[in-house]
């Protein structure tokens, strides 16, 4: 068996959004883990491995020179804290729209959301994987959710 392989693949698949790239990234991550495991001194192997997977995803992302607009935290800010009636009414979402809306999130929001909701990581663990302060994790997650709600509302996913 290979430990945490599903968690590693799930993160890579959501971050790269491509099956072939996720495959490559996961292989690279486990090779790195294998090469450097002597340097591992922490107590949580999953966090350590997820951090490596994430780094491999980011390198792959840079190599690919994606045509995406570079991430800018300011331009992705939520202008107003007020919820609109549309997103207040977000209910039972179709899986397809949900999938598309998560994939449409900027990388930084997507990774936070995936680790929080699909791996059910605590903010502290996400902060450890991403090497970010917990406050940043909290605000990225909050913005990710807001954007997701807006995206779902725009797709008419409401009652």
């Amino acid at each position: 068996m290979v430990p945490h392989l599903d968690a590693a693949y799930n993160l890579a698949r959501w971050l790269t959004r491509r099956a072939d790239e996720a495959d490559e990234v996961v292989q690279e991550a486990y090779l790195r883990a294998f090469r450097y495991f002597e340097s591992f001194t922490g107590s949580d192997g999953r966090v350590w491995l997820m951090a490596i997977v994430r780094n491999c995803c980011l390198s792959s992302y840079r190599r690919r020179k994606s045509d995406e607009v570079p991430f800018d935290e300011r331009s992705h800010g939520v202008e107003s804290g007020q919820s609109t009636p549309e997103n207040q009414l977000l209910k039972r979402a179709s899986a397809r729209s949900l999938h598309d809306c998560i994939e449409a999130l900027p990388l930084e929001y997507r990774e936070t959301l995936v680790m929080r909701e699909l791996e059910e990581f605590s903010y502290k663990r996400i902060a450890e994987v991403t090497a970010l302060p917990i406050g940043t994790v909290m605000s990225r997650l909050s913005r990710a959710r807001k954007r997701l709600q807006d995206c779902m509302a725009a797709k008419g996913e409401k009652q």
Partner: protein
């Protein structure tokens, strides 16, 4: 607290990530504020939707095979694919062990779900015994009293050790039902902490450490018996206990 200070914290409140006093203030506000309450419910709904409907991409089977091959070649480029699998297993064992620390039990591929199930049962039996204050049916610090007590209740005789001199006095024992069979539950103490040790004859191998809900579990095999120790003790102390027991 007013809406503008509550709103940015609603998500963190939903995730249970706030200080208890803050969490309390938020729930108090939600009781009295329809708009914030609605925002909270929307987030809750969103979370439920994501968790129940978003794809969890499981690793495809061929990937595992490719991983094994590439790690094997990484280790020794001259190694051909014909290398017997046990060699790779030996190399990988140390990596896997490291990756497993504090996370999952290191288990044979076949035994994963079964052992996860047992871990869950061990945890819930231990917690239930603590909560109901029903930890032992035979109270004795004398192993010569405890061991025979199991005689007419089990189809095996558990190894009952006296570790009082090493700081783990025996409290007693009871019979539990785990993995669809009756097992011996031995209870030990370490200062204020209680350790439950479950043991039964088992052919399949189990070995590892797991932490869950503030409890640590250490599992090992010895002389054809499976041992599962669980406690809220520090992991170091529990591993010391396990070593003293022969794990």
């Amino acid at each position: 607290m007013n809406c503008s200070s509550v709103e940015p914290l609603i998500g963190a409140a939903l995730d249970g990530e706030l200080e208890p006093s803050q969490q309390f203030q938020i729930s108090e506000h939600l009781e009295n504020c329809l708009s914030c309450k609605t925002a909270y419910r929307d987030l809750e709904q969103l979370q439920e939707d994501i968790r129940s409907r978003a794809t969890y991409h499981r690793a495809p089977d061929p990937l595992m095979e490719r991983l094994r091959t590439s790690i094997r070649e990484e280790h020794n480029p001259s190694v051909r694919r014909a290398q017997p699998p046990w060699k790779w297993m030996a190399i990988a064992a140390s990596v896997l062990l490291l990756l497993s620390i504090g996370g999952n039990l290191l288990l044979s591929k076949r035994g994963v779900s079964e052992n996860q199930l047992i871990a869950q049962e061990v945890l819930s039996e231990h917690v239930r015994a603590m909560l109901t204050n029903h930890q032992v049916d035979v109270i004795s610090s004398d192993r010569h009293t405890v061991k025979p007590w199991f005689g007419d209740k089990l189809d095996f005789s558990p190894d009952v050790k006296d570790l009082a001199a090493r700081g783990f006095p025996l409290v007693g024992g009871r019979v539990e039902y785990i993995g669809q069979r009756p097992v011996a539950a031995l209870v030990f103490q370490r200062s204020k902490h209680v350790i439950s040790l479950f043991t039964w004859p088992a052919g399949s191998s189990v070995n590892g450490v797991r932490s869950q809900n503030g409890y640590h579990l250490v599992a090992w095999n010895k002389d054809g018996m499976a041992y599962w120790a669980i406690s809220d003790l520090s992991l170091d102390d529990l591993e010391l206990f396990s070593r003293l027991y022969g794990g």
